[in-house]
């Protein structure tokens, strides 16, 4: 692995991964996608987020992965499960029971042979409201617009701008307090990936860069607060929030998504 001569906004060096890195990310990313595919079948009214978390952990371990979130800065769970107005880092709980109409994000990061496959998706519990549906659909469209902007020579500002454009068109706000990140053998690496930006600004993308794109869109204002547990981030105005995430790599001629379902 080499490093780019560029540094990200936090002045850290940005790794440039070779073929072995891409292969490692493919395996880890595939398990992340499989885990999310699997968990979808268990989501229904009445199930607790702790039960879903346990199922995620079992699935990842049974398929050769280790949940990288366990032990990360003291986090104790195999997934983050963020329901309705929880923006991110929702802690699975036996007390959090899903109800008809809920929307939730499940974020998993199986570590396979030392590589981190980081991905999250939104799920809808039964029939959800029109606003919730529009928020979920727009967030996915925003993620994919960001992914589509990834190619050698483009910038992280281009990626952020693409995401921002989709969100603004639907009058949703973009959370700024959390960012995507470089990923690989290090869970949270350089570069920071902002989900807003100006075209042409920021780090210029080079083949070998690997990072997550994981926009969080709110139906209300962008402001979030962290609950006393130190993890759970919620919208300050208690508006709905949604997030999707892929781990991607910059190739010689475009982008590879590591966390797509087969």
């Amino acid at each position: 692995m080499n490093y780019s001569t560029q540094r990200d906004s936090t002045r850290r060096p940005i790794p440039l991964h070779g073929p072995e890195g891409f292969e490692g990310m493919r395996k880890a990313g595939r398990l992340a996608a499989q885990t999310l595919d699997y968990i979808e079948g268990l989501i229904r009214p009445g199930v607790s987020t702790a039960a879903l978390d346990a199922a995620c952990e079992t699935f990842m371990r049974d398929h050769g992965g280790i949940p990288a979130t366990i032990g990360y800065r003291g986090y104790r769970h195999a997934s983050c499960i963020s329901v309705n107005h929880v923006v991110t880092h929702g802690i699975p709980s036996v007390d959090k029971i899903l109800a008809e109409g809920d929307i939730l994000n499940i974020d998993v990061t199986p570590k396979v042979d030392g590589w981190h496959g980081d991905s999250s998706r939104m799920f809808c519990v039964g029939t959800v409201g029109r606003l919730a549906r529009r928020l979920v659909d727009t967030t996915y469209a925003a993620l994919m617009a960001g992914v589509a902007a990834v190619r050698p020579g483009a910038t992280l500002g281009d990626v952020g701008h693409a995401i921002e454009t989709v969100a603004r068109k639907e009058r949703f706000s973009i959370v700024e307090d959390f960012v995507g990140h470089g990923v690989g053998q290090v869970f949270h690496d350089a570069p920071d990936v902002l989900h807003y930006g100006k075209p042409g600004k920021g780090v210029r993308l080079e083949p070998g860069m690997i990072f997550t794109i994981e926009p969080m869109l709110n139906a209300g204002r962008k402001d979030v607060k962290i609950l006393p547990d130190g993890w759970t981030a919620v919208t300050r105005d208690r508006s709905l929030s949604a997030q999707f995430e892929h781990s991607v790599g910059v190739t010689d001629d475009g982008v590879e998504i590591f966390t797509l379902s087969a």
Binding site: T10, D107, T109, F178
Partner: protein, 196 residues
């Protein structure tokens, strides 16, 4: 799993607080705030419309922390405990204390902040005034309208402790223990119905 952005709004507010504490409101320029966080100056504007908005956010954050410690005690009539809590807060949050106690609100907010923040500042001040009124009605119900009694209470609760704190803020070693003793001595036991 997302990473927490290094440059969140709170980081800029904390930087502004530290700069005001060390060098007064004039030291908290946008360039200095951004430099202290290690962020590009443009990233400040992405989160705050103006320098005045950051300074107002810093004042509001400091005052909210101060109020959270003092007001519940005032509303129980526990003046001695409230005055000691003021000292405890200054010891725990020396930069916020320096911002609030060493500089007039007018100088921190010399450039008018956005209207919503200005209203929030007024709301904070009025809430503290109401708590003080509650305190007076509890500990000295017969002294209503007696300017001397009100002045005495204000001195014991605020002006006295703040005068003792001011020389110590920002000094090595922080607020010395004798300040607590001196603040405690400001209170005559018979003045309060409710013991600290």
């Amino acid at each position: 799993m997302v990473r927490t952005a290094r440059f969140d709004a709170d980081a800029f507010v904390s930087a502004a607080t530290a700069l005001v504490a060390a060098g007064g409101p004039d030291a908290a320029t946008l360039t200095a705030i951004a430099a202290r966080v290690g962020a590009p100056t443009g990233s400040v504007y992405h989160r705050f419309p103006s320098r005045a908005a950051i300074l107002a956010a810093a004042w509001l954050k400091a005052h909210a922390a101060f109020s959270a410690r003092i007001r519940p005690l005032l509303e129980q009539g526990a003046g001695r405990a409230a005055a000691l809590a003021l000292v405890g807060w200054a010891r725990a949050e020396p930069e916020a204390a320096a911002l609030l106690l060493l500089h007039d609100t007018e100088s921190v907010l010399a450039d008018p902040p956005p209207p919503a923040q200005l209203q929030a500042v007024r709301d904070e001040q009025q809430a503290l005034d109401r708590s003080f009124s509650t305190y007076m009605s509890l500990v000295a119900p017969t002294a209503a309208g007696d300017p001397a009694a009100v002045a005495r209470a204000r001195f014991r609760l605020f002006d006295g402790p703040i005068a003792l704190l001011r020389p110590t803020l920002g000094r090595p070693g922080g607020v010395p223990p004798y300040v607590d003793d001196l603040v405690a001595e400001l209170f005559a036991a018979e003045f309060e119905k409710v013991a600290a």
